[in-house]
Every structure is written in C-alpha cells, then in structure tokens.
C-alpha cells in the first residue's frame, strides 16, 4: 500500500470540567489507505465520536482540546494548520456524515442551497453551475426526481433521503476521506442497508478512504476492511475484519462479538458485557476494562497493558492476548 490518506499519530483529546480533566481520547493511532474502510468500534462513551470530531478539529474549545498527537491528511498535519487553512480542508478534502440526518440539515433552507454551500465555499461555482451540480450529486446518491427534490426543504424528505442528501453534500468536492459517524443509527433497518451500499459504492467509484464509526458489528462485517476497537478512550485491538471476527484477542472485542452474535447462540439469552464503561473520573488504576473482564488477573488491576503486536498489524492491549489463540 502507498502512503496512507489519513495517518493519526498518538492523538489525545482532553476536556476540562469542573470535576477535573477528562481524557476522552488517549494516545490513539491508526491510518487509512486509499479506497480503504476503517471501522472505529466501541460502546457509547468509548471516545470514537470524539476522535472523529478531533480529526476535523471540531472539538468545541473550550472546554475541549487536542492535547497531543498529529493528524496527517495526505502528509499534511491538520493540528498545525491555521483556522483559515483548516476551513479549506473541511468539506473539501475531508467530509463528514452525521448520525442524525433529521438534525444535520438546516430547516430553513432548500436542499439545493445546502448542498450548494459546499460548492460555493470551495469551488466558487456560479449559481447555474451549482444547480446543475447539485442535481448531478442528488442523482449520484440515488435521490429520485433530483430537480424537484433540490427545491424542497428538509422536512419534505424522509430520513433515508436526508441521509442521501448528507452524503451528496459530503461528496460534493470529492474528498479524500469520508468520516461517517454512525451514518445509519437513526434510520430504519431496510434503509440502513441501502445507505451502506451507497457509501460503499461511492467509495469504490472515487477511491476515497472511509472512516466508519459504529457500534454495530453487523455493519462492520459487511463494509469495513480493517477494524480499530476502542474502549474508554484507548485503542484496545486492531486488525483486519477477518482477523477480528475469527480471532478476537481482547476480551472486550470478544464481548462485543458475543453481544452481536446472540441470535446464533444456543440459548435465547442476550449475551452482554456486564457493567458499563467506567466514569472518566473513576478510571480504574490498572486496565480500564479489568472491572468488567471475566479473565482479569491481579496484574490487570495494577498496571495498564501496552499495545503489543500478537501478529504483524495486530496490536492488542491485553496482558493475556498472546496466550489466547483461536477461541
């Protein structure tokens, strides 16, 4: 593989609060190549959305800030850019699709105007060019009757249509990287598959890199190439989809897979990971997953394990990872 499109190096994000500093993302590193889909997986509160926002430097500051690390997009460090230069990157080289398409469009403007904003800001197209391009984009994302839809307001569109509009907006400038933050969580199951297929097809067509943020392992299995599992702000395991699903080494990954595969299990019981993500103010002294881990040994409660390669490109943050073969 050539140089990665996105290279995130030891990214840390902190939030100041009255109760103390919250380390929402700690020392997170990953990279995505051209045409590759990387899934960032974890429960609510694991820091995956924060990490995505930090890539575009959209963390509200104050209270949040990127405390260390670098985000290299095609070799350029975004954390070092000025606000003005950054605006040239946002929407043009790196675009984002949000979780809830109901909320992500401005209710007072037409679809044409909203998709047109991107084209106006970055490509400086004229009014008639914008209309033509908007219709073309809507057609590209499979919106029927695009000329008509372009003139409508967000409330005239269904959730799936709105998410298509969001995708059209994100793709308007053919970005190198598309960040999709739980793009289908707010949609009906039937529409979910359509939207995922659309993202996948467009990725193939334009050779984009895609960062898919999700907690749904079913989606991961269908669309991603590689997976980064996050827990309490840290990466705990990384690998290709095949490796993660066939040979999960971290007990948290195993728990997630167990919870996802409950339908296939022999009983009807929903297998879950006991407990919840620890509060950022009460992080355990050792491994942050230790309190919920059935396999924890005394060492886990006193020291935080480092990421260690169990195989090339397979870092796992667990003391017992190596001994845990196919299980």
């Amino acid at each position: 593989m050539s140089a990665p499109v996105l290279d995130v190096r030891s990214l840390s994000v902190e939030f100041e609060s009255t109760l103390g500093t919250i380390h929402a993302v700690r020392d997170l590193s990953f990279s995505i190549g051209e045409g590759e889909t990387l899934a960032l997986v974890g429960e609510s509160g694991s820091g995956k959305s924060t990490a995505a926002m930090a890539l575009l430097r959209l963390i509200p500051n104050p209270p949040g800030r990127i405390s260390s690390g670098a985000v290299l997009l095609a070799g350029r460090d975004l954390t070092a850019l000025s606000e003005a230069d950054l605006r040239g990157v946002r929407g043009r080289e790196m675009a984002m699709i949000f979780q809830d398409p109901m909320m992500a469009l401005n209710p007072v403007y037409t679809i044409e105007r909203q998709i047109g904003e991107v084209l106006r800001l970055h490509l400086g197209l004229s009014k008639s060019e914008i209309l033509a391009e908007v219709v073309e984009l809507l057609r590209l994302v499979g919106v029927p009757a695009p000329e008509e839809r372009a003139r409508q307001y967000p409330h005239n569109l269904s959730g799936g249509m709105r998410q298509r509009v969001m995708i059209a907006m994100a793709l308007a400038c053919r970005p190198r990287l598309l960040i999709a933050d739980e793009p289908t969580t707010a949609l009906d199951v039937t529409v979910q598959a359509q939207v995922l297929d659309l993202i996948h097809g467009l990725k193939e067509k334009f050779g984009m890199a895609v960062l898919l943020i999700t907690h749904d392992l079913g989606i991961v299995a269908e669309t991603a190439n590689r997976v980064v599992v996050m827990y309490a702000g840290r990466k705990v395991e990384e690998g290709t989809v095949g490796e993660i699903f066939a040979d999960p080494r971290h007990p948290y990954t195993r728990g997630l897979l167990g919870a996802a595969k409950w339908e296939e299990a022999d009983g009807d019981l929903l297998r879950e990971i006991p407990g919840t993500v620890p509060s950022p103010f009460e992080m355990p002294s050792g491994c942050s997953f230790a309190p919920r881990c059935a396999e924890a040994i005394p060492l886990c409660r006193s020291a935080m394990p480092e990421l260690k390669d169990v195989a090339p490109g397979r870092p796992v943050r667990c003391f017992l990872a190596e001994g845990r073969g196919h299980g």
């Binding site: 959209l58 950054l86 675009a95 949000f98 979780q99 809830d100 909320m103 007072v108 970055h122 907006m169």
Partner: protein, 278 residues
Amino acid sequence: MRRLATFWLRYRRNRGAVAGALALAVILALALLGPILYPTDPFDMVGRPFSLPFDRFPLGTDVAGRDILAGILNGGRVSLLIGVLASLSATIIGVALGAVAGYYGGRIDDLLMRTTEFFLCIPSFVLAVVLVAIFQPSVVTVTVAIAVVSWPSVARLARGEFIAHRDREYVQGCRAIGMPDWEIILLQIMPNALPPIIVVSSLMVATAILTESGLSFLGLGDPNLVSWGYMIGVARTVLRTAWWMAAIPGVMILLTVLAINLVGEGLNDALNPRLRKR
C-alpha cells in the same frame, strides 16, 4: 410565499391580534397621512385656549390655544418613529452582542454578558433620563437613549437562542464543510433564532413609546416637536378643570401600546415553534 401564507393562517387564529393589527394600521395611517390632510401647525395658537372638543376645533385647544387634533396627529409621528427606530436599533445591538456571546461562549461571552448585566441592573428609565439630560433632548438623543436602555434584554434572549443552536448538528455540519463563523452566525443560525427575537422586539416598540412619552412628559422630549407625552405634560396643571386635554393623548398612547402588544402576542403564536401544533 407559502411561508407567508402559513404565517398568516396561524396569526389569524388569534382574534385579538387581528384587532390589534387593524388598530395599529389605523394609528399608523393617522400618523402618516394626518398631518398632510389636516395641515395645522401643532405649535400655532389657532384660537382661544380651553376650547371644548367638537366645538370650533375637532378636539378643542390646549392651555395655549393650540389645536389638540394637530398635536395628536403630529405627535403620533414622533412617538411611532422614535418607538420603532429605538427598538430596531436596540434589536440590532442586542442581537449582534447576544449572537457573538452565545456562539463563541467562553471569555467573550463572560465579557459581553457582564456588560449586559451592568446595564440591566440600572433602572432603565432613570438611565434614559440621565442620558437625554446630558446630551440635550432631540429626536436623535431620545432614540439613542431608549435604544441604549433597551438592548440588554434582547442580547440575553439572542444569546440563549444561539447557545441552543450552536451545537446542533446542522451547525456542526456547516463547520464540517468549512463555512466561516460569520456565515454560520448570520446565515445559518440567525434565521432559526429570529422568531422569538421578532416577538420581543415588537413588544419593545410599545415600551419605547411609553419611555418616550415619559421623557416628554418630564420635559425631556425634542423641544421642536410635539409628542403625546409632551401634550400630557402640558395638560398636567389643568387636570382638574380640563381633564380631556390629558386624556386624549393618554388614550392614544394606551391604544397604540395595546395594539402593539396584541400584535406581539399574535406574532408569538404564529412564530413560536412550541405553540405551532396548537
């Protein structure tokens, strides 16, 4: 166009608001056209003082023999002009400061809001009196003084609206496509934040008219122009012998303020999203 139609449909449901709009239209027409159709100079001594209404002059004459109807018509211009201009400027100042404070938060917010609170804790009428007294009464100083004492409430409201909107996903989305802050504030959040602000600033016109009347009553109005407050001030000394002299401009103020308040209520019903489903 369709938005205007739905707005009217909602507005129409409040009968008081329709009556208010009608009354306001009549008052506006009187103020705009009256002095042209009835071109008596309100400062001219046209007849004997204390002439009764419906006698030689439609509404009689005041203590100096000046035509009261001419005063009402010309005074209406002044009162409405000052009321509208003052609340418009107060709205612009308030929205600008509130928007910046709410959108950016942090230290800018602290600075702007402490300033706003400073203005809020001084009794506004007293401050207006002081300002006009310092800068010589004229239409401009009275308007500015009323604007200066009125903007803080708008600023607080605008700030609240901007805080509610700044972290919405559509705003995040605008940031994510590289839109500059001023565009997000002016073109994206503003149209969404405006309805409650319109309601408050329409009601502020009524308060501004009352403040102006109060200032003129105290002799702090523009000395070259008649206003309703000034007429009441002149009639004050003869309240027991010629009560109508104060009552006529008083009723005009009452009607105007009432009409504006009714219109404001109607706007609130029509624009407030929380009441839309009613």
